[in-house]
């Protein structure tokens, strides 16, 4: 390979590499040396990158380097950004956790607000609740309960690990100054949300 050809291949390589957009052939031709054989330059450059981790591709706008498609699965970095449950869903889940098995009208009664099917669907889809038989009452409404997945997601080994309802339902004024260890009291619930989840008790 002549030195000039080698030189033009290097320049084309650098230009395509540094460009923020695909480089049109016309722009390359303008930049190469006067006597350059454009096709020979591009053939030479393509050959350099064949089978490598980076490939030279010809796209609509011109020439572009791209990482080899076969490497994509190994290059991809997945960042998990967990969603938060909407507040209504969280309240509903909490009521089911404490009152299970419980019917939807009962949940509405406890929340003091009506409940959309959408909310129940969210909890069902997330695998946090499951229907558990029917109540022997007019209309035989479905009873709802939490799933093992619920326990796993909250890092609980069983339902008894939930803070006791009695501890939660203390007079808020009394909660302000916890006499009991925090683990047994719900005082921390009244403070602003801590940055990190409370460790399992």
């Amino acid at each position: 390979m002549s030195d000039t050809l080698q030189d033009d291949i290097r320049l084309a390589e650098a230009l395509i590499f540094a460009s923020a957009t695909p480089v049109p052939s016309s722009a390359l031709v303008r930049s190469l040396s006067m006597e350059a054989d454009f096709d020979a330059v591009m053939t030479g450059l393509t050959a350099l990158y064949t089978g490598r981790g980076v490939e030279l591709a010809q796209v609509a706008g011109g020439w572009q380097f791209r990482t080899a498609p076969d490497l994509a699965p190994r290059l991809r970095r997945v960042i998990e950004v967990p969603r938060r449950l909407p507040r209504v869903a969280m309240e509903t889940l909490a009521i089911i956790a404490y009152h299970q098995p419980v019917t939807r009208p009962e949940i509405e009664e406890i929340r003091g607000a009506s409940l959309s099917q959408n909310t129940m669907d969210q909890l069902l889809e997330a695998g946090l609740i499951v229907p558990k038989g029917r109540k022997e009452a007019p209309g035989r409404p479905t009873l709802w309960a939490t799933t093992p997945s619920f326990l796993a997601q909250f890092g609980l080994s069983d339902l008894r690990q939930l803070p006791r309802r009695d501890d939660l339902l203390l007079d808020p004024d009394a909660l302000a100054q916890p006499a009991e260890p925090v683990s047994n009291s719900a005082a921390f619930l009244l403070a602003e949300p801590p940055g990190e989840p409370v460790p399992d008790v």
Binding site: S19, T21, T67, L75, A94, G112, L156
Partner: protein, 260 residues
């Protein structure tokens, strides 16, 4: 120290050029450093004393052209004149010692500035990213965001529960609990149905429904049953009997022979 005193000041440039030069310097220290550098062409070593002479000569020349020279130039000139007077004293004198220390300080400052100059030059000579060398113009973003997981924690769950309970409490309007008392109508129907199956002269209590639990309900049911019994007795459907005051009230079927 002897060779310092007789080192001649370099030819002072003419006044106009000099003023232009002065404006080109970043302060007196910059000029001092530049003077020191110029000396390299003629002398193997430069003494602080000759440097002072040159600086004073430049400032003197500049003042002839422009009286209102910037204060920092004049301050430096005054300080250097003081330094020169100290450096010219015979060694061993306390004031001469003072001069030595001051000269050292000045030399150290010039050295620092020279170092900075050199480093700035060294940096400028390196290929700079975005000037001489270029990184990839079109980086690829290989990150992918997975939002399928849920962020759940016990504290949020508890807080949600408390919020729900508090809301329910504040919304609940006081409504007297409906007292489901056994009505006279209920008692009538039950007495009529049961009269046939119970033995004669059963007590009023035995006609009360089993579901009754509270004392209030019990008293209410008794009253309803008694009224229903009286009503039926009046219609001649049954007989009532009480053997003593506050004794049990007994219900009997109406019999033909006792009709008289």
């Amino acid at each position: 120290m002897a060779e310092k005193a007789d080192t001649p000041a370099e030819a002072v440039p003419d006044a106009d050029r000099l003023l232009l030069q002065l404006d080109g310097f970043e302060g007196p220290l910059d000029l001092l450093l530049d003077l020191a550098r110029q000396q390299k062409l003629d002398l193997a070593t430069i003494s602080i004393l000759s440097l002072v002479d040159q600086f004073l000569a430049v400032i003197e020349g500049a003042r002839r052209v422009r009286l209102e020279l910037a204060a920092d130039w004049l301050v430096m000139a005054a300080w250097l004149a003081w330094l020169k007077s100290r450096l010219l004293l015979p060694p061993g004198d306390a004031a001469a010692e003072e001069g030595e220390v001051a000269a050292e300080t000045l030399a150290a400052r010039l050295r620092d500035l020279a170092q900075v100059r050199s480093l700035a030059g060294w940096l400028s000579n390196r290929p700079q990213l975005g000037q001489d060398v270029f990184k990839r113009g079109e980086p690829e973003d290989l990150t992918e965001t997975d939002r399928s997981k849920l962020a759940l924690d016990i504290v949020s769950l508890m807080r949600a529960y408390l919020v729900a309970l508090r809301r329910a409490n504040t919304m609940r309007v006081y409504r007297p609990r409906p007292v489901a008392l056994w009505s006279v109508q209920d008692a009538l129907a039950r007495l009529k149905r049961m009269m046939r199956s119970l033995p004669d002269w059963s007590t009023l209590e035995s006609f009360l429904p089993e579901t009754i639990s509270t004392p209030l309900e019990r008293r209410g049911a008794m009253a309803s049953a008694l009224i229903a019994g009286l009503e039926m007795a009046r219609n001649g459907d049954l007989q009532l009997r009480q053997d003593e005051h506050f004794g049990p009230i007994l219900l009997g079927q109406m019999k033909a022979e006792e009709d008289q």
